[in-house]
């Protein structure tokens, strides 16, 4: 039996155009939807799979405002059994703070008799892209960690993690408890069922406050890259433009002869 803790972050969905807040501290999310990153969707799927395969339990955790309950319920709807929210003003936190907040929950649950054999996180947050929370969490808990992982399975006492290395697929065999940072691509996240949604709606969510003074992220300000005026040259419309396209390809000298 393996218990899994999977961590998700509520982030603005920026698949379209977006702006910044006037204080240049964050993405202006007033007109945006919210989501979790594709990496984290896969981490939730893997958490559910591991719990299912071993008869353990998957718990989902988020650090953020109580709006993050929406993302926690999404994870509950696809198979997580419990949810924890560490209430915090995310803008005041950096990766050191988020890792510490998660570690505090893990230790508190351990003291209460619930331990996590595998902790899954997304490889990097879709908004801040720090690439650090999984590793800093592992150091805080003194556990082995590996990042960039596509699939994880529990085999005996080991968490067997596969990812793409520079020379091909790599396999890591981590003694549990272990921390694993997941990249999308190894599994397809399942869709919630209607009974799953109903159950998620009613599930209790454990809420704990963020404790202590945050270190912060070092953010001075955000900027949007300067939008250059379009300089596109329209070569034509429809298949008649093909010769003009080939002219450009030949001018660039990239055609293989």
């Amino acid at each position: 039996m393996a218990n899994v803790l999977v961590c998700v972050k509520r982030v603005p969905d920026v698949s379209g155009e977006f702006g910044l807040t006037d204080d240049e501290q964050s993405v202006d999310a007033r007109h945006l939807g919210f989501t979790v990153s594709p990496h984290e969707e896969c981490a939730v799927e893997l958490a559910t799979q591991i719990a299912g395969a071993t008869g353990g339990e998957a718990t989902v955790l988020s650090v953020g405002s109580d709006d993050s309950i929406e993302q926690l319920r999404d994870a509950l709807a696809v198979g997580c059994a419990k949810a924890v929210l560490v209430e915090a003003e995310l803008a005041t936190l950096g990766p050191v703070d988020v890792a510490r907040a998660i570690a505090d929950v893990v230790r508190a649950h351990e003291a209460g008799g619930v331990s996590y054999d595998v902790i899954l996180l997304g490889n990097d947050a879709a908004d801040t892209g720090d690439f650090q929370v999984p590793v800093r969490l592992a150091y805080a808990l003194e556990r082995p960690v590996v990042t960039g992982i596509s699939t994880v399975a529990v085999e005996g006492d080991l968490a067997v993690a596969r990812g793409d290395g520079p020379d091909g697929p790599e396999v890591f065999e981590l003694p549990m408890p272990a921390v694993v940072a997941v990249m999308e691509g190894g599994v397809t996240p399942r869709y919630p069922t209607i009974p799953g949604r109903m159950k998620a709606k009613k599930a209790a969510i454990e809420t704990v406050p963020f404790a202590g003074e945050p270190v912060g992220s070092g953010r001075v300000r955000l900027k949007l890259p300067e939008v250059e005026a379009s300089t596109v040259r329209i070569l034509g419309t429809g298949p008649d433009a093909a010769p003009a396209v080939v002219d450009v390809i030949e001018e660039l000298g990239v055609v293989r002869r």
Partner: protein, 326 residues
């Protein structure tokens, strides 16, 4: 002060992304010496080629961490080797390229030194305090980040700068050392490498020409002409996230924030709207030709050239024209 750069070896010398990081370091350091560190076994003649390359890029020394236990990659062990070198050369900044391994190792370095880390930097001002401009929101925004610690840990975004040799090359001192490794540093290590499926994303990231395909391909069967165009141009096929999410093409072909980042000479984006997620992966292409039914699509307005219309009509016509001119 000095700058320490992790250099990752490849089949024929230093990885291009590592040379980008060394170039970035020169921009940072003014007259401060740059030291390269290489971890784990490197066979001849790759080693000699690397030292020569790094000399051309102006590094003062190449430090080589050697130990039998470094034969299989383990991020914590690599980080231990870096931290030891950073101390030996009194590094003010520790750099690596923002590859998956580069970011992983630097996260360990930052955790060990208990300092901040800036991932995917595109520019930096080394005047104290260190202020880094880095890619966030998948490259759609930049963050100015201040690093107040005595050592700044920074990964350099792929293709943030062109790799350029130094104006005055150096004859780097080569220093071999056996880093102090703890048992816990070797727990999370590569247990085995599996046979790679041939022609995976390596071909995509190194191709001079990439043919991109998005939702406009229409179905799993909509790639025939696109693959012919790829073949005619001796390039690689890249796809948007929606294509892999729908299961039309394998994940390793994905270009974007959660896929490969490419910098080909030519990118032909067919039926791709150009969402931020995708743009993050293809914006370093030198020339972009967009083929799209929507002339207002971001991919069209950001492209150098565009053809308006259905890719299923236009791509076969381009293929015919390419064959005709052969």
């Amino acid at each position: 002060m000095s700058v320490l750069v992790l250099v990752e070896p490849e089949a024929d010398g230093a990885a291009l992304t590592s040379l980008e990081a060394v170039t970035f370091a020169r921009g940072l350091a003014d007259d401060a010496p740059i030291h390269a560190v290489v971890v784990g076994p490197v066979a001849e003649p790759v080693w000699s080629a690397m030292v020569e390359q790094l000399g051309a890029y102006g590094v003062a020394s190449v430090r080589h961490a050697e130990d039998d236990r470094l034969s299989a990659y383990a991020a914590a062990a690599w980080a231990a080797a870096l931290v030891e070198s950073a101390s030996a050369v009194s590094a003010r900044v520790v750099l690596a390229s923002g590859t998956p391994r580069g970011n992983e190792i630097l996260a360990h370095v930052a955790a060990r030194l208990d300092v901040a880390m800036a991932a995917n930097a595109v520019a930096a001002d080394s005047a104290a305090p260190l202020v880094v401009s880095r890619q966030v929101v998948g490259g759609a925004a930049l963050e100015e980040m201040r690093l107040d610690d005595s050592v700044g840990v920074v990964s350099v975004a792929g293709h943030a700068c062109e790799p350029v040799p130094a104006a005055s090359p150096s004859a780097p001192e080569v220093v071999s050392y056996a880093p102090t490794l703890g048992e816990t540093d070797l727990v999370a290590r590569v247990a085995r490498t599996e046979e790679a499926a041939p022609d995976e994303s390596a071909a995509l990231t190194s191709a001079r020409v990439v043919v991109g395909a998005g939702r406009g391909a229409g179905s799993p069967d909509g790639f025939k002409d696109l693959l012919s165009l790829t073949e005619l141009l001796g390039g690689a096929l890249g796809v948007s996230r929606v294509v892999t999410s729908l299961g039309w093409r394998p994940h390793h072909e994905q270009v974007g924030q959660t896929g490969s980042r490419i910098a080909p000479d030519l990118y032909i984006a067919c039926g791709i709207s150009g969402a931020i997620q995708h743009w993050a992966g293809c914006q370093s292409a030198k020339t972009i030709i967009a083929i799209n039914t929507d002339e207002d699509a971001p991919m069209v307005t950001r492209a150098d050239y565009a053809v308006i219309g259905d890719l299923h009509e236009i791509v076969p016509a381009i293929n015919d024209e390419l064959r005709r001119r052969r």
